[in-house]
């Protein structure tokens, strides 16, 4: 059986006429954990948003395919049902909609009409997953992300990841704003998803997360492109030495633009 594959070729993305991604090439297969690191403004979040179809970003060139299917032709919800998931850096708050109803709607959207998840089965799975993530079971009845601390929002993203079981997940700075304990729980959740059927693209600013989730591949993004790829030891070197040595090695000028989220 061929593994699920997300293929990004020569991707150019702009926002409000400013080009952020200048030709990204990347392939993530199920069973692989990829980390993407890079200085502020490199375009890491833009890459994540463009894959998911964020309305503010415009793809001007290149392709994204999921198992051979053209992702760019798909609406946001179709991309999710094709097996993609994005854990967002700034998750939205949806007042009046409980986490439980939201999750159940999402699961049923994936399963399709006539094949809705039985209520008891859903509740069991939800409770089990929340316990795994050390989440208070009351969170299920709270409104989506409303009044949640940064850490709680990130944990809620991982809860959704584990409940929806996508083929390829993109985690956009899932570690930002988390203390060590929350970080460990989030990592525990992600690691529990490891399997031949699950691939992950972890966008992170700091090496710290990678102490808990060992990536198979590490890529460095700079100025809108992936400039270097390697194994886990690449992340360690970046933590110790920063990005200058890469710039020198590749002859890249330091870009002075401010990161656009």
């Amino acid at each position: 059986m061929t593994k699920s594959t997300l293929t990004i070729k020569d991707l150019h993305v702009q926002i409000e006429d400013k080009e952020i991604l200048k030709g990204v090439n990347l392939e993530v297969k199920a069973g692989e954990f990829h980390a993407v690191m890079g200085p502020n403004g490199a375009g890491k979040s833009t890459l994540a948003s463009a894959i998911m179809g964020h309305p503010k970003y415009e793809v001007t060139k290149g392709s994204i395919t999921m198992d051979g299917e053209d992702v760019l032709e798909m609406e946001v919800d179709e991309r999710a049902r094709a097996g993609l998931f994005l854990a967002m850096q700034y998750p939205s708050e949806i007042s009046g909609v409980t986490n439980s109803d939201f999750l159940r709607s999402a699961i049923n959207a994936h399963r399709g009409e006539g094949n809705e998840i039985p209520l008891m089965q859903f509740i069991k799975k939800l409770d089990k997953t929340m316990q795994h993530l050390d989440m208070d079971l009351n969170m299920a009845q709270r409104y989506v992300n409303e009044g949640f601390s940064g850490g709680e929002k990130k944990r809620n993203e991982i809860l959704q990841l584990m409940m929806l079981e996508p083929k390829i997940a993109i985690l956009d700075e899932i570690d930002s704003g988390l203390d060590i304990d929350a970080l460990k729980v989030v990592a525990k959740g992600i690691n529990s998803m490891r399997s031949e059927d699950f691939g992950c693209l972890i966008i992170t600013h700091y090496q710290r997360l990678l102490n808990y989730i060992t990536p198979d591949y590490v890529h460095v993004m700079m100025d809108g492109k992936i400039v270097k790829s390697g194994g886990p030891e690449l992340a360690l070197r970046l933590e110790a030495e920063g990005y200058d040595w890469i710039r020198k090695e590749l002859g890249i000028e330091e870009d002075e633009t401010v990161e656009v989220e």
Binding site: V76, A80, I94, S105, A109
Partner: protein
């Protein structure tokens, strides 16, 4: 525009209807005085909506034939869906202008609570009714429509909670409306005496109504000292009805009123909800949700007036507008001189779903005292595309995502209604209106 021949409104008309119903002299006189005022006074002037061409007063017959139900079983299905059929404790059902069904639990009777149709109350509890009927909350001579109401009131309910009585089970009314030829001039009078508490929920339910008609609904909620009233209402009157609804609270010292209002009429509606925080430490919390559809125009004035010191008022208006409907929210927080340490907060938000829908949210703060807090928030906009993106990124299709956001937006009232049947009905009506 009504095509009926309007009944002639004169002293003889009032004399006839009052005599026929065997009303006590004081009430007959109240009607006659009101008639004079009706002829003299101007119409109310809601902000931002011109109502000169709206017909609020024409009708063919003062009362419709009506119906009576001898048991819960005989109630129409639409009414059964609103109540806990196997566990009804306190319920009043009115069929057009006829008192159709009344059940009062023994517990309530033992506590001395009075719950009966208005016209019976006028006769059997005259002293009490006379004390509170349009004397404190809404006055007869405020404008042409309050006077019209007093002259012609033809239905309603009186609920009186004696001192120190806490009513545990919610009290429910359902006003069924089937006949547009007769006006729905309904009065709900609720009085909670010192240290009492009660939860009351009502439905105005049009069933298969054809043609045009008028409704003039006045609700007075009076809380004396340290009393608590939870008031819930869901209005679903038909498209052909031009409606004036005025729900007012008169709240005494340390008393508390909570309003949860699901306003889902299909016709043109002028809606006034004012809470008068008379006593020190009084609190008024109002939540209103509405969905405007078709070509209807709805104007909502939600007002809290602070007279008492340390009084607190909260207003939340959430509306969804589609098709070519118009919805106006006027939110007014008024702090009178000497109402120091008061807090007036309001939030009015409109979600516009269609290009030709019109919406306006006007926040007003009128402050006549220094040592107070006040704030307001108002917005009119489309459904947030980033919220939709978030929901869709989990596989939820766009239409379904919009549905979730809209139900969530209107949830503040739905979740506050204390009766499951009414909650369910409001959710269904919202679903039907936003489809």
């Amino acid at each position: 525009m009504t095509t009926q021949t309007p009944a002639k409104l004169d002293q003889a008309f009032i004399d006839a209807l009052s005599t026929k119903a065997n009303e006590p002299d004081w009430f007959h006189k109240l009607r006659l005085d009101a008639l004079e005022k009706y002829n003299a006074l101007p119409m109310p002037k809601p902000d931002k909506t011109k109502i000169d061409k709206w017909d609020f007063v024409s009708f063919k017959n003062h009362t419709a034939p009506g119906k009576v139900f001898n048991s819960i079983d005989e109630l129409p299905d639409d009414v059964k869906n609103l109540i806990e059929v196997d566990n009804v404790k306190n319920l009043y059902v009115q069929y057009d202008q006829t008192a159709a069904y009344l059940k009062v639990s023994d517990e309530l009777k033992e506590q001395g609570v009075i719950f009966t149709d208005l016209l019976t109350a006028v006769k059997e509890h005259g002293e009490l009714v006379q004390k509170y009927f349009m004397t404190k909350a809404v006055k007869v001579d405020e404008d042409k429509l309050t006077a019209f109401h007093a002259a012609l009131v033809n239905g309603g309910v009186f609920l009186y909670i004696p001192k120190n009585v806490e009513v545990n089970e919610p009290i429910q009314s359902v006003f069924i409306h089937t006949d547009a030829d007769a006006p729905l001039i309904n009065h709900v009078l609720i009085v909670a005496d010192d240290n009492s508490s009660v939860t009351y929920v009502e439905n105005y339910l049009s069933l298969d109504v054809k043609g045009n008609g008028v409704a003039n609904i006045i609700t007075e909620v009076v809380a004396n000292t340290n009393a608590k009233i939870n008031f819930g209402a869901v209005d679903t009157l038909a498209e052909g009805l031009t409606t004036y609804v005025n729900r007012r609270g008169y709240i005494g010292k340390d008393s508390h009123v909570e309003w949860a209002l699901g306003m889902m009429n299909d016709g043109n509606t002028i809606f006034d909800n004012t809470t008068l925080l008379m006593g020190d430490g009084s609190v008024g919390n109002t939540k209103t949700v509405t969905v405007g559809t078709g070509k209807q125009t709805q104007n909502f004035t939600t007002k809290v007036v602070h007279f008492g010191r340390s009084s607190e008022g909260f207003i939340l208006n959430h509306g969804v507008v589609k098709d070519q409907a118009t919805t106006i929210f006027n939110g007014i927080g008024k702090i009178e001189h000497k109402a120091s340490k008061s807090n007036a907060q309001q939030e009015s938000r409109l979600l516009m779903l269609d290009k030709n829908a019109r919406g306006d949210a006007n926040p007003i703060l009128l402050i006549d005292e220094d040592d107070v807090m006040a704030g307001h928030a108002a917005s009119v906009g489309r459904v947030d595309p980033i919220q939709l993106y978030y929901l869709m990124s989990r596989g939820i299709p766009r239409k379904e995502a919009e549905r979730l956001v809209i139900h969530g937006f209107l949830a503040p009232v739905v979740t506050q209604l204390p009766i499951e049947g009414v909650k369910r009905q409001l959710t269904e009506v919202i679903e039907r209106k936003i489809m």
